[in-house]
Symmetry: C2
Subunit: 645 residues, 2 copies
């Protein structure tokens, strides 16, 4: 178990409201503090959080120094910036996301070196701020375009939004510091500048979710109101549309309360939706909340991959039409996974509906966990479900964002590494929650959880093993409810209360309510054996195929696990035989389609025949681990021997 601090000394300035990323006052349920759930360093999530803290954060810092993205702030302070500044117009946001990750990480463990790096970075950012609070390294200074001269694509407010989110992390885990002061001045500037500007909105949403949370964190309703104003202005075609784009790219095609599904650029749509839930909850706007729930439902039903990935189009990095879910060209940007967790988390807090926690689990295990390499120094940007051709090795330098098949140390557009970093650093806050006298286990991760007077030690090898043992370490002398999520895929799960026999529990919430005593054990057993999963017939791209899941994990076949001289696209699964568990994956029975001679033309008068010969077995591995052993081809959905349409 990693050392960590659960410091409970009072905040330096009393602003601390709990060290959690999202803290609505009037939600249905409440997340726990980041510091309330100490993850075991050897567990699935604890090990990733450890690598994130010790490797990924330093990796991101090194890259942004090397590329000059941090020096951009120094150049503003020195006054020698030019249009040839380093990086895209949104590079500031990467620095802020890294600061957010650092702030969360510093709340988890004392690290003087990290604290020093944080302080130095804050100082460099602070030095670039204008007297009136404006802060940008790409606009608004001599040699650069004027302030807010390209609201549609300039990302100025988007950048400031990430600054505010970093400040939220800091003020809630530490209290006011220079970063928080910088963020407050920036937020005040934004309100002054945009309060009454009916055309003022940013092409990339983010400022909305950030202002809402920063307003909560500082008890400043003006910030929430500014977020509301940004939201309501959107969807009226006010952003100038560039050639080859359309207004739905940045969700300016329809007011958010009138839309019926997410569309356009996936990360934009999801950040916007997350901010809209915050505004709906803060302003008691039930209609808006209901609209967002409807949009989430249709999006998840018809525009979401088995992995939880969202965004099926490389073009515009956007959502496709309903049921347009190609496996090979699945974009499934890592950042869209992060943003989907943000959106679903806020809906979960607002409604308490277990379905949101189900999607969060799926997305965490199959998108967020897929992106970083085991050493935390390389990342997937896009997360396709089918890799047709072996990728080359990643470039040592900056990589194209959408290259599939290989994790890369850095990208031209490098939003994903820092987004993974801030998510893993704050992850414990998303794993448990409280409601009334109930402590709720939303996700299962080995570690120690404190809440509602209970101290629980959670032992599990989930997701590879389905047994979750909850040991009561401390308990108050009054009744408490221990509520556990039973995932929607879990048939015949069992729950055993202390000293009682296991009983079957349905998918949804299961719970034990009693006066707990130290030494009590509650045991949940989830059936994580491998199972076939079939796609809806309306998803044309995967007709006639089947996937294999194991607990919350989506599995895949990687070419490295095939018999010699076997093409991955020739594998046909015989679904008469159930998949068998194998290490952390599964084994399925297959027939191998022979390689056919090229016919010159891919369309002919005879249907393709199912191969009946060359029967074999093939091993599947967790999707999040693919491409770890070098270049390969890969499939999640495998053609079934006997397909139906």
């Amino acid at each position: 178990m990693t050392s960590f601090s659960t410091s409970t000394e009072p905040s330096p300035n009393g602003l601390r409201v709990g060290s959690r990323p999202v803290a609505p006052a009037n939600a249905r349920i409440h997340g726990v503090d980041v510091s309330s759930y100490a993850l075991d360093g050897a567990g699935f999530w604890g090990s990733r959080q450890r690598v994130n803290g010790t490797a990924t954060i330093a990796h991101c810092l090194e890259w942004m120094e090397r590329l000059g993205w941090i020096e951009n702030f120094d150049r503003i302070a020195r006054g020698d910036v030019t249009r040839e500044r380093a990086g895209w117009q949104f590079s500031d946001s990467e620095v802020y996301k890294l600061l957010e990750a650092m702030a969360w990480e510093l709340s988890r463990r004392a690290d003087d070196e990290l604290a020093g790096a944080y302080a130095r970075l804050v100082a460099r950012v602070a030095a670039a701020q204008d007297d009136d609070g404006y802060l940008s390294t790409a606009f608004g200074h001599p040699g650069l375009p004027p302030r807010y001269s390209d609201l549609a694509m300039g990302h100025e407010l988007y950048n400031i939004g990430h600054l505010l989110q970093a400040a939220v992390a800091r003020v809630r885990t530490y209290g006011t510091d220079d970063l928080v002061a910088v963020a407050r001045r920036a937020a005040d500037h934004v309100c002054t500048r945009f309060w009454d500007d009916e055309d003022g909105l940013c092409g990339h949403p983010e400022i909305e979710v950030a202002l809402a949370e920063f307003g909560r964190a500082l008890g400043e309703p003006r910030y929430v109101e500014q977020a509301r104003r940004f939201l309501e202005r959107r969807g009226r075609g006010r952003l100038p549309v560039r050639p080859l784009l359309s207004a739905d790219y940045f969700q300016d095609d329809a007011p958010i309360r009138e839309a019926d599904v997410l569309r356009g650029h996936a990360v934009r749509a999801l950040y916007l939706s997350a901010g809209a839930v915050d505004v709906a909850v803060e302003t008691h706007d039930g209609d808006l909340l209901a609209a967002l729930e409807r949009q989430w439902s249709r999006t998840v039903e018809r525009r979401t991959y088995l992995t939880g990935g969202m965004g099926s189009r490389h073009q515009d990095e956007g959502f496709g039409d309903d049921w347009e879910l190609p496996a090979d060209r699945a974009y499934c940007e890592t950042c869209a996974g992060v943003a989907s967790v943000m959106f679903a988390w806020r809906l979960l807090l607002a409604t308490g509906d277990v379905k949101y926690a189900d999607l969060i689990e799926r997305t965490l295990f199959n998108v967020v966990a897929t992106s970083p390499s085991a050493d935390g120094r390389a990342f997937f940007y896009a997360n396709p479900l089918h890799q047709r051709e072996e990728a080359g090795e990643a470039a040592d330098g900056v990589n194209h964002r959408a290259e599939g098949g290989v994790r890369a140390p850095w990208f031209d557009v490098s939003c994903c590494p820092t987004n993974v970093a801030r998510t893993l650093a704050s992850l414990p806050a998303y794993l448990a929650a409280e409601e009334g006298d109930a402590l709720i286990l939303l996700q299962y991760a080995a570690g120690e959880l404190t809440g509602r007077g209970l101290v629980l030690r959670i032992e599990t090898d989930y997701p590879f093993d389905g047994r979750v043992r909850v040991h009561v370490v401390e308990a108050p002398d009054e009744e408490r409810t221990l509520r556990l999520r039973v995932p929607s895929w879990a048939e015949h799960a069992t729950l055993a209360a202390p000293d009682a026999a296991p009983t079957f529990v349905e998918a949804g919430w299961a719970q034990v309510r009693r006066v707990f005593s130290p030494g009590d054990v509650v045991e949940l057993v989830l059936p994580v054996g491998p199972r076939f999963t079939w796609p809806d017939a309306r998803i044309d791209a995967v007709r006639g195929t089947v996937a294999v899941e194991r607990g919350p994990l989506v599995l895949c076949v990687e070419s490295l696990d095939l018999p010699p001289q076997t093409r991955i696209d020739g594998v046909r699964v015989d679904t008469r035989f159930e998949p068998r568990p194998d290490a952390d994956g599964a084994v399925v029975s297959v027939a191998m389609a022979p390689e056919r001679d090229p016919r010159g033309w891919a369309y002919g008068p005879v249907p393709a025949e199912s191969p009946q010969e060359r029967r074999s077995e093939v091993r599947l591995i967790p999707y999040h681990r693919w491409a770890e052993r070098g270049p390969s081809t890969m499939r999640v959905f495998l053609p079934a021997l006997t397909a139906r349409s």
Copy 2:
């Protein structure tokens, strides 16, 4: 039958080498002159050529006047151009493609109004040319970026290429005129500027194919050599790659003789390949020709749609990986169809291999003919094989190029209308050829064809009827071969020589050799009844589906033809019953899958079941006619009731 001129008076300057777009000296077979094949105005192609000449050409001229793309030339002449000029940096090319269309059209029929419009347009272009031959409205003048300051994306040489192609049309149908003189000065300028510049190549190929042909037309080997130099320079990573692009976008990733398949931007790859065939033929470079044949074969086998459409990615308008052929996101740009015909035509002339003529037929009927509306004033830019959602009506103004489902009068990038115009205006040249004593019918279109001393009257309702009657109107007193293409899909085709019984002929070439007499009739009967066509099992996107073809036509189901309350995605074809002919389409037996209640999640433990109830019949129409009756959804590949994988 439309009036037309088959003027045989000598060219004003003797340069005329036959009014054909492509005239290699040492090809295996030779195309006929545009003026040698007069199409019936009521036939499939003749009616399209008539509408093109009377409506489309004027439509394009009106739009380019309205948008200021022509005035750009006046502004250069007046010296008052600015960076805020109208249109993209390649708008000049649209003016040149229109001039090419006008030149071909003027060779077909006398039209004083059109001749006047042509002359006025040439004068405006000529006035913008610099003294040294340079010609551009987007670069190289005060207020604009310097000449050749953005070779990768600036399109200066691309534009000049289309100027030369227009001049080829003019010099071969009329002789030297002001346009030809302008083009000659421009070509000389290009050779002077780029002869020894090893880094000098254009991001968008076109100058290569244009220089090669202009060199042939003027007997100027220097132009062909410049084309060869451009070709050989390419593929060595010399073009600067923009962020988010890669070198294969403009085929600068590998030398053309080393590549094994077309990749990157489809139109660029195909124009480049067409020019490379020209250079290979002119320089007797058998290795290069062989490389291009291999690339064509793999591209057609693995990266081409049933329609002949190429380019499966909206992103970069490019080729995807082998077998990456989604029906819904098929880009299949109309211009890529035109460019594919250009490439295949040159390979056909070089080799005489019938497979190239087969692909040309498929592409003409299912891509080129699909783009324009019946009135010739609206166009498809992209040609997907599956429309999931009904499109809105096209905007009256400029439309997004890639909006599916509706033909639009004009686009932000409007390359397709003028490309259709120049192709239809010169179409007869692609329908027949000559080799030795043989006159070859490559495609079947009603009209009158002259060649090898024969005058033939071709009567047919092809492709709706498979009977092609070739009447000999005039014939020389010596043996001639009449060779006819039997398409690869044609099983049990028959050919009847004059006064002989029909005999079965295999796919490929069939022929009659004899001393023909006026009054002789040769009759070819092609089986154009509807048939099922199955995709290769490696095309994941259409697994478990079947298409219906009828002769050379790909058919489709349009939602307007379904029973009420039927979703197009619920149609399942029962392939136990052969499709029946119906009007110009077909009827298939189907079962209708019931609309299911949303399940909230599209992936589950039970395979989709085949519907066995609600049996019905559904009408299919030719794909090229879809979306003519208002917004609809559409599919080419339909799920089969009993699928195989």
